[in-house]
Amino acid sequence: MGNETIGVRVAGVSKRYTHRVKGEIYAAREVVLDVRPGEFLTLLGPSGCGKTTTLRIVAGFEMPDAGRVYFGGEDVTAKPANQRNIGFVFQNYALFPHLSIFENVAYGLRVRGADDREIGRAVGDVLALVGLAGYEQQFSAQLSGGEQQRVALARAIVIRPRVLLFDEPLSNLDAKLRIQMRQEIRALQRRLAITTLYVTHDQEEAMAVSDRIAVMNQGSVVQEGGAQDLYHRPASDFVAKFIGRVNSIPGQVASAGAAPAVAALGTTFAVPALPPGLAGGARVQLMVRPEAVEVVAADTAGALPATVVSSTFLGEKAEIELTCQGIALQAIRYNTGRGEVFAEGAKVGVRLPEAALTVLPPAEGSAG
């Protein structure tokens, strides 16, 4: 068991199930992933997208029907989980109810034949690391959800795994604790520099913890990148709508040349780029995030006329629903302290900054 930091490569992994109603379905379809040594990569997607199946295949709990899994240069596809030297944190923590916290954490070390002195030291250290010093003799039933989560984490890292794997570890915690725990997980991973694969369906959580995010849908990875890339430059309708909120405005390519432009909302917008292979006149959608939509006075130069449908005051911000040329738009205005109020029915102006515009092919069917 080498303790050097290694990468994980998932090469074209597929997994089929026979579903009672739907017949043969793919839980994972030719999934390709490359987790760099020491990197924190998150698999993000809606339930049923194949992210947990992929994670379990990396762990060795399930065998892929096709494809290989590499730890560093080593092909581990045929190895069972207990020979892969992984740390796995389960959604339900899976603490052994009949063993004390100490014995839970010591389990992996005992399996590896460590001597008692070494075990005592390592368990003490790791429990201190997760802030649970003094809990050694308790049982999992006596612990709160957050504490159980920390024990599960300690149990996974005490064996100095080559790869750390998380399966929606925070979904059983309340909102406040979730934010605290995800920061702790992130800090710990940085400190230990263990290559980490993390599964969640919560986009905010994914953005908070990850170096890189791989978005999955229907068994495949649809886009990979940093949080900023995915948010600002979504490659598909699905990614744009799954991560954050977005306005989708129908339009047509007005100019496909060196200065690309899209006609929409009765005017023409210069855009940063067009998707490849689109000629003039092609139907597209113009994506813009609500916080990028500028709501200005009706007489502002260059603003499109719009009407306020509703305005919801949320403290630090207000969410405004508008219609512009018959298209519904969402806008967010952060509270500047000046106390502007947009009454329902008020005539306002709307500006869409060029840098905030993303052009995508039209949505496929009505899916997404």
């Binding site: 199930y17 579903h19 989980a81 992984i86 389960f90 899976a94 009949h98 996974a156």
Partner: protein, 568 residues
């Protein structure tokens, strides 16, 4: 996560083609074939073959005999009545316990009063009935001064069986009532329904599958009951199990007895299949083992609560009365005639009866660990491993448990009386009978516990580097140990108290306390019979206490208790 993960049940790598699994499965199949399938095939053979010829003459003779036909209908009538009344009584008990907001000690009293009939030797209530309502009964003769009353017949048999078996209904219904989310009832109440309406439109409909289940369990128990009607039914009310017994022991007609037990097989099998494949799948309430917490409102009015409590107290008191009477009868010269204190009956059972006591303890002592081991092995194998005939193994293992003891006893008698496998007269035949008849409670407990243990626990162990052997030894085994102990307890208790199957298997060399009790009753030595019964109760309670202690030491989440398993 993946919607089909549960449906497809992906196999853990290396789970199949394990030589240890294959070997164990082979041995278990061989044992099941020998001790479950083979005797039943021999029984069937005896019914439909006559001197090497296929013949239904034996069966036809039975079916043409009006006395036997009456026994068949009587059996069904008795079972239906016991099922109905026992379910109602059990429901009243369970409802009071789950909704009555009783103090803890009162719940303890209720549990204790239903425990007594469950772990008592057979004949106990029957003897007490004769003491109370017989020709010289304490109540009929001494208290009411009635003369010439007869205690024998449908009414007393039914009453005695209801007292004996209603705890099964209680144990079935209580977790269901406790599992109904009290918020659902609170919701109905908040919508303006009266308490009675809430009960009628919410609580009762949600308990219907449980009620049906309880009815079927009671029906099967009454149908199979041999001891009570043997003592109380009398000549005027023949039922099938006793008729089969009398046919064999009284008229030495093994074929006739086999045919009668075969007639009994039909309704017994129907109830078993109905209960297994229909009712048990219709539960609305998932019983998680944890109570649904305190009801957010008083689901019963104080007046109704008091009425329910009074009813339960009445039933509990009559049970207590029966047992006090039994104890008293064991300590006086002759109940009803001479009430002078004596230890003579105990002297009798510890001199003349000591062989039966020793034999019973030896047999129970062997059956207990073997039955417990059998239960945990088979339960683990059928839930966690993949091998050929996994599902059918579980079904076959339940057969001897589900069939009336009379059938199993006669089948063993026929199968093991002659070569190639001659076991009659040995202790082995009785031990085997107990293992395969009562071991299945351990199987069911193991399966239930294993299905509550999340798959991720074993995966967590595997992920931490443990092989399948280490994972079983350090994670799975400790977690299913409670099922093992509970299985041990049930096999031991039943080995001490059973009679219906083993009465056909005892011999000069090996006899049983329960058979001795029967002999004493037929010889009208009721004092020693009462003393034997008290002794069995005491031994059983000591064993329950020990097992209960072991279960507390090796506690696991959602572990079954011995008593909750006695309910079938």
């Amino acid at each position: 996560m993946t919607p089909s993960a549960a449906a497809a049940a992906p196999r853990a790598p290396g789970a199949h083609r394990d030589p240890v699994v294959a070997g164990t499965a082979f041995v278990l199949w061989a044992l099941l074939a020998l001790f479950v399938v083979y005797p039943l095939v021999m029984l069937l053979g005896r019914v439909v073959y006559d001197q090497g010829q296929f013949s239904l003459a034996g069966l036809v003779t039975i079916l043409a005999d009006r006395h036997q036909i009456r026994a068949f209908w009587n059996s069904l009538l008795l079972a239906t009545l016991v099922g109905l009344i026992g379910t109602v009584v059990g429901f009243i008990f369970a409802f009071t316990a789950a909704r009555g907001r009783l103090p803890r000690w009162l719940l303890g009293v209720m549990d204790a009063s239903v425990l007594l009939p469950l772990v008592s030797p057979p004949f106990t209530t029957a003897i007490a009935m004769i003491f109370s309502f017989g020709p010289r009964g304490l109540i009929t003769y001494d208290l009411l001064g009635l003369k010439g009353v007869t205690v024998y017949g449908l009414t007393s048999t039914m009453f005695s069986e209801v007292i004996t078996y209603f705890p099964i209904a209680y144990l079935t219904l209580r977790p269901i009532l406790a599992g109904i989310d009290s918020n659902i009832e609170g919701m109905a109440l908040s919508l303006g329904a009266s308490r009675w309406r809430v009960f009628r439109t919410v609580t009762l409909p949600l308990s219907i599958p449980g009620l049906a289940n309880a009815f079927l369990l009671l029906f099967a128990a009454s149908l199979a009951d041999f001891a009570t009607p043997l003592i109380l039914a009398g000549n005027q009310f023949p039922v099938l199990p006793t008729q089969a017994f009398l046919q064999i022991t009284g008229m030495f007609d093994l074929r006739g007895g086999a045919a009668l037990s075969f007639v009994l097989l039909v309704p017994a099998l129907a109830v078993f299949l109905l209960q297994r494949y229909w009712v048990s799948r219709r539960y609305y309430v998932t019983v998680t083992g944890k109570g649904a917490g305190v009801a957010p409102f008083d689901s019963v009015s104080p007046a109704v609560r008091n009425a329910l409590l009074a009813l339960c107290a009445l039933i509990a008191l009559s049970i207590a009365y029966f047992y006090v009477l039994l104890l008293y009868a064991s300590l006086v010269m002759a109940l009803g005639a001479n009430h002078a204190f004596t230890l003579q009956h105990y002297r009798v059972i510890f001199t003349e009866g000591v062989k039966a006591i020793r034999d019973t303890l030896v047999i129970a002592g062997f059956a207990m660990p073997l039955g417990g081991l059998y239960g945990i092995l088979l339960g683990y194998l059928v839930t966690k491993k993949q091998f050929l005939g996994r599902r059918s193994m579980e079904l076959v293992s339940m057969v001897n448990y589900a069939l009336p003891g009379t059938i199993v006893g006669i089948a063993y008698l026929i199968a093991f009386n002659d070569p190639p496998i001659e076991l009659t007269g040995t202790a082995l035949i009785i031990v085997a009978c107990y293992i395969f008849r009562y071991g299945p409670t351990g199987i069911r407990a193991t399966v239930a516990l294993l299905s509550q243990i999340d798959k991720s626990l074993e995966e967590a162990s595997q992920g931490l580097g443990a092989g399948s052997g280490t994972t079983f030894r350090r994670i799975t085994l400790p977690l299913i140990l409670p099922a093992f102990f509970a299985g041990l307890g049930v096999v031991f208790i039943r080995s001490m108290t059973a009679i219906s199957a083993t009465i056909f298997l005892v011999s000069v060399s090996w006899t049983l306390v329960t058979v001795k009790i029967l002999e004493n009753i037929t010889e009208l030595s009721l004092g020693p019979a009462a003393a034997f019964s008290v002794l069995v109760c005491v031994i059983v309670f000591i064993v329950i206490a020990i097992i209960g202690r072991l279960l507390r030491v090796f506690r696991a989440p959602g572990a079954p208790s011995v008593t909750s398993m006695l309910g079938g």
